[in-house]
């Protein structure tokens, strides 16, 4: 229980700081911290496979991609004077978003506490091994697994085409 609170508190605080940071570089690094805490929660849920790919794929690959783009664009500051002035003069969107977020957490908390806190105790000894996951993935879910590879291919081609710099010199030859 203490480990759950520890990892949950790290995840929540780090996610809040991701939003509060003004420098996107710090946001990305704090999000990696949040993902590490979530990986610990997956271990507590007896899902070691998800915990490991959370670290390898999310923190290791996707976040490094984000970090690379942040360094490439090199625009660390968001709130220029003009943007801050706009926030003071026309404070509509941000306040509205904050109100909507508070309403959302209120609704979700209300819906979850209505069902009774003690009803959701986990059954004992339900360890899902990597072998079971692999067998499930390549038998029952083999078609979605293959579709996933096409999705990755399309995303890769799309990213290359979108981020390509238009070079007019090479068109004629």
């Amino acid at each position: 229980m203490t480990l759950f609170y520890l990892f949950g508190a790290i995840a929540v605080v780090a996610s809040l700081l991701v939003i509060a940071q003004r420098n996107p570089m710090y946001s990305v690094l704090l999000l990696i911290l949040s993902f590490g805490a979530l990986s610990g929660l997956y271990v507590l849920l007896e899902a070691p496979f998800v915990a490991v790919i959370q670290i390898i794929v999310y923190a290791g690959a996707i976040m490094v991609l984000f970090l690379f783009v942040v360094m490439l664009l090199n625009e660390p500051k968001e709130d220029t004077e003009e943007a801050r002035l706009r926030l003071v003069v026309a404070p509509g969107a941000a306040q509205m978003g904050a109100i909507l977020a508070v309403a959302l957490i209120g609704e979700l908390g209300w819906a979850l506490t209505r069902t009774g806190g003690q009803s959701g105790a986990f059954p004992a000894g339900a360890v899902t091994s990597e072998a079971a996951i692999g067998r499930l993935l390549f038998n029952d879910y083999s078609f979605p697994f293959e579709v996933t590879s096409i999705l990755i291919l399309v995303a890769m081609v799309g990213a290359v085409v979108l981020a390509r710099r238009e070079s007019r010199r090479s068109d004629g030859t």
Binding site: V18, L41, A47, V57, E78, A121, F122, A155, A163
Partner: protein
Amino acid sequence: MMPTLNDYLLLSAVLFTIGTAGVFVRRNLITILLSIEIMLNAVNLTFVAFGRSFGTADGQIIVFFVMTVAAAEAAVGLAIVIALFRHRESLNPDSFTSLKW
């Protein structure tokens, strides 16, 4: 006393709300993409918790697919961000209003 399913669902709801607030409040395209990642991870936590509760591995399989889609989304989204930055030298979504009616 062990944490119950409800505890995990509440934590997931809090994380999802933080991600939603980030999408609404922040005015930086990269931070908005990071907030979307927070929301995807909150949903992943829900899937794993429910899979543990039902005693099956299907929740973890779905998490695998969600991670794949998140990787594709991050790659395409960051490519779009780079293309937009080349056009306007800005990451503020308010400066891209050409399609606004």
